[in-house]
Symmetry: C2
Subunit: 606 residues, 2 copies
């Protein structure tokens, strides 16, 4: 075999892991980058708790602080559990992979679909909450919130399509500005309260409460606030992004993140409670609180600004996570290959575009309301948490490392806790929208399996195992002509290079035109024989297809190549004025076996 190689200066590097895209991160930068998804929920989690409690009247709002403490306890448990996951998967691993490795394909697919939904909702919720921070500060923009959300989404998607990546320091800044802002808010707020006492009278009941305070309502409030856990898994996904020692650094960062999160979330909730904030549609709870504490000055606008910034950043994180997970799943054959080819920039875009379109659809359907989207959100998050923790338990039981019983206990408690939360979330939010996610997870799993089945089937059909090579073929070349001009002449010449036996075929609709064509053929037909097919029913396609079928049905395997002269106009709109016949023919021949259609372009000048 004659091998002809064109060697270039250097060879493409092997497929990088997801994290290799980042520069290696110090603890400080790493914290900021992985924190945005989780911390940003401080901007809306408190409000979601209060919005449920208010249904039982303003008095019930005082339950928000204990509920936030209960959620804080869950956060501690989950973070403690994930610190163990980091040790077990030092190369970093998505819950999809962890579940698939330890619990099998089914669990992996459940986790995968839960995560894809989760990432999509992260984008929709974060963008909605980010724009809510803007419209709280500038109420005149409230009617345009959906348009603003879609514009923000388009911007993020565009940035990602152009190849925007988390570039260290620049992306770290908003997280620290956000943390600083909330710490100042909480400190000032408590100081003010300590000095001046309750700043406003407790609000009186404006309208009769919609329902009584029940255990179910408290559980619903808890379930709503549980969105504060979203994004905790990000550090465990990205261990390899840290400078060595990666595992130690990642574990430290996760612990610090937990402490900051607890401070900000419980602090904000307690303060909102003390300041007698009542949730309203037009202004976020955080905005009301900041107005009450800062009195509306520059610090107020600063806080709204950094809230928007970190929420946009959280949405941006999902734009990295979604295509990466889609890549893993397509590599395993559960998603179309289009998501799989990391080397090709165009293909990467598919994940970004699909995520942007679906998230934009959600924002439009839910009128840019964070509150309306929340019931869909937490089911996916806690499904993947639970599967991930259960996987770890299974793993410890199987590998039995030192102290395995302690590790089983940690992840077991973690998994049990998130499972309980999952049940609470699904049950209390079911009619509000959680059912949609349950249905979707099921639908996605069936789709994944169908795709995988198809790819397996194709691989079997294409396998070279026991293959004796293709059967021998014979071949004829036909040029379909409707006229004779320079374009046709070039197509005839090309056809002759494919086969010296090439023929031209003309379907006669008008005998007079045939006569004129044959006259010109003598001079310009390049010696290619012209076959004239008559058309009893004035159809162009019918006689031609009949003729092709007649050829293909010859003995043995006979392949017919149809050469179609086709214009390539100089301007885009001129395409509309040509080639309709070529398109028709191609459409009609697309599914015929042993027929191959070749366009011979003739480039028109302007």
């Amino acid at each position: 075999m004659r091998l002809y190689r064109l060697k270039r200066l250097f060879v493409g590097t092997p497929l990088p892991t997801a994290q290799a895209r980042h520069e290696r991160l110090s603890k400080r930068t790493g914290l900021a980058i992985f924190a945005s998804d989780n911390l940003s929920s401080v901007a809306y989690a408190t409000e979601e708790i209060m919005r449920v409690l208010i249904l039982a009247g303003v008095a019930a709002l005082s339950l928000s602080t204990p509920i936030s403490i209960a959620i804080g306890a869950v956060i501690c448990i989950v973070i403690y559990s994930y610190r163990q996951t980091i040790v077990a998967y030092p190369q970093g691993a998505s819950d999809y992979i962890v579940a698939k490795d330890n619990l099998g394909t089914a669990a992996g697919l459940v986790a995968g679909s839960a995560l894809l939904i989760d990432y999509t909702l992260t984008v929709a919720v974060s963008v909605s909450a980010g724009i809510a921070a803007v419209t709280s500060a500038v109420p005149g923009l409230f009617p345009y919130r959906v348009v603003l959300c879609v514009a923000a989404l388009a911007l993020i998607a565009y940035g990602n399509l152009r190849g925007l990546r988390e570039s260290g320091r620049l992306f770290a800044l908003p997280s620290y500005l956000f943390i600083a802002g909330f710490l100042v808010l909480i400190a000032t707020g408590f100081a003010r309260y300590a000095i001046r006492g309750e700043p406003t009278a407790p609000p009186t009941e404006v309208e009769a409460p919609l329902g009584a305070l029940s255990v179910f309502l408290v559980l619903r409030a808890f379930a709503s606030g549980a969105v504060a856990l979203t994004g905790i898994e990000a550090v465990a996904d990205g261990v390899q992004a840290f400078k060595p020692p990666e595992v130690k650094n990642a574990r430290t960062v996760l612990a610090v993140l937990g402490i900051i999160m607890l401070t900000l979330f419980i602090g904000t909730t307690a303060l909102a409670d003390l300041f007698n904030i009542v949730p309203r549609d037009e202004e976020t709870v955080v905005s009301q609180l900041a107005r009450a504490v800062f009195g509306g000055g520059p610090l107020y606008y600063y806080l709204q600004g950094v809230s928007t910034l970190i929420l946009i950043l959280a949405a941006n994180t999902a734009f990295a996570d979604f295509p990466r997970l889609a890549f893993f799943m397509s590599r395993d054959g559960y998603l179309p290959r289009q998501f799989g080819n990391r080397g090709d920039r165009l293909v990467f875009s598919n994940g970004v575009v699909i995520l942007a379109v679906i998230a934009a659809g959600l924002v439009v359907v839910f009128h840019g309301s964070t509150h309306a989207l929340i019931p869909l959100y937490a089911v996916g998050v806690f499904t993947s948490f639970t599967l991930s923790q259960t996987s770890m338990v299974r793993r410890w039981l199987r590998t039995r490392p030192d102290g395995w019983w302690w590790r089983v206990a940690v992840n077991g408690i973690g998994g049990a806790t998130t499972a309980v939360v999952l049940v609470v979330v699904a049950a209390t939010k079911f009619v509000d929208g959680a059912w949609i996610v349950v249905v979707l997870i099921g639908f996605f799993i069936l789709t994944f399996l169908a795709i995988r089945h198809h790819y397996d089937d194709v691989a079997r059909q294409l396998s070279l195992e026991g293959y004796e090579g293709p059967p021998p073929i014979s071949h004829s070349v036909l040029v379909l002509v409707g006229d004779l001009h320079r374009g046709v002449a070039e197509a005839l010449q090309y056809a002759k290079t494919l086969s010296p036996e090439a023929k031209a075929v003309y379907v006669e609709l008008d005998p007079e035109r045939t006569r004129r064509l044959e006259e010109r053929w003598v001079k310009h037909g390049l010696g290619v024989p012209l076959i004239v097919l008559t058309s009893p029913y004035r159809s162009l396609l019918g006689p031609f297809l009949g003729y092709i079928d007649h050829l293909v049905q010859r003995d043995g395997r006979h392949i017919v190549t149809i050469v179609l002269p086709e214009f390539i106009p100089a301007r885009w709109w001129q395409h509309l004025l040509h080639n309709q016949t070529a398109l028709l023919i191609k459409g009609a021949l697309l599914f015929r076996k042993n027929v191959i259609v070749t366009d011979v372009p003739y480039h028109l000048k302007d």
Copy 2:
């Protein structure tokens, strides 16, 4: 030259003229078929006059009868003129052809665009008015009028796509039922009035009139009522549809149509005036009148039913006229060829689909309101009338047949009258929407000229005059492979039939995969040399395009054929899972000169 002919039993008939599609029609059937477009305007023309007059208060409504008589006079003049056109164009001719023949290209294009707009509006107005007749009888359907309009449009378009044609008697029935219904309405109405006197008290002024009764308002009312002339030209277009003697029969039918039209239109208007009907949005004037005359019984529902029927039929007429005119204009190179190939059913559909889509758009934008559409309607109609009559004057002056001065006088008066009406319509309706049509006519003319220019340019570039034949070419065949499997093996075999020198090209992204591919190539590569291109930037396309450019730039004219193995899955959704690379390559190579891409399909089994 070896000529090989496949002769079939019979040869396709020559291109039939538009009218040859019909069976030849008796006067009675012909009247019914050509009448629907014109007569159907009785269902809304009276109302349009009244809707303008009401702006000056209910007292002004008494002017509607004299205005309808004035319009009746114009109808007489136009019909008399068109009876002359029939003599001059016994083969039938659209105003586009008449204007182009006698006044030149520019006038023809003005008439052509005016007619295309006219036909489109006929569809939108007739369907809206037809549905208005339904919602007047069943007020509960009023909120769904736009949906009903679009559904009716879809039905008509579907019928025409499936090849529904005016089949004599069946289509004649609604016209006679409609004529009978209105004659009974008018007779009963006048009888009732004669016996019982004014049936209801004259309405008192409900609200202050919006303006004073001015000459301008009267002219606007006249311009609105002038829609009663639409469709008069239909008989002259279709002379050849009549049984011999065609000219005599067509002239008789046109005269009879005129008499019926005058009776129905003036009769209905006078009766509405006598019965003190006041136009309202929710119920048509004809419906109110019929309720008042018949008292709501079966005769009322009959009248509404046949009104809807004839209006749908009028819309259907435009579905025959529009594609036919588009055919004439595309034959002359002013519209895309897609409209031109009459023999091919698929291509005919283009006119039908485009007409349906634009008319549906109009109905939606104008909320299914006949009244809102009317200002756009009459400009196109009277533009083509005026051009047609002017053409006839020019023709008589040139050909000077017996009694030419009399003929000049008839068409001259006709043309002058319609020109005056055109000016009145354009001036009084300009701000209401007539300006849109004026702008559109201009835009269309520019488009027609650009299309014609392009086709002329292409014809010049393709001309064989002075052509010495294509330059000699050399040729190489490359199979682009990403793997080696049965599909690739068949593509390799095919490539070898195109050229014994065929080579395979592989872009290396991972040296390890290359090594494995080369191992399998030895056994299954069919002896085709494998060229491995390295890709420094992990791009698939870059190195491949570079290699092709390198080949194409050889001495002389070198053509490269790229063979792409491509899957044809068994089910439609599976297409989404394959071929993205093939698509990418095709997109990248589409505009390269001397490169031809050939897909070799590999048909997957289910």
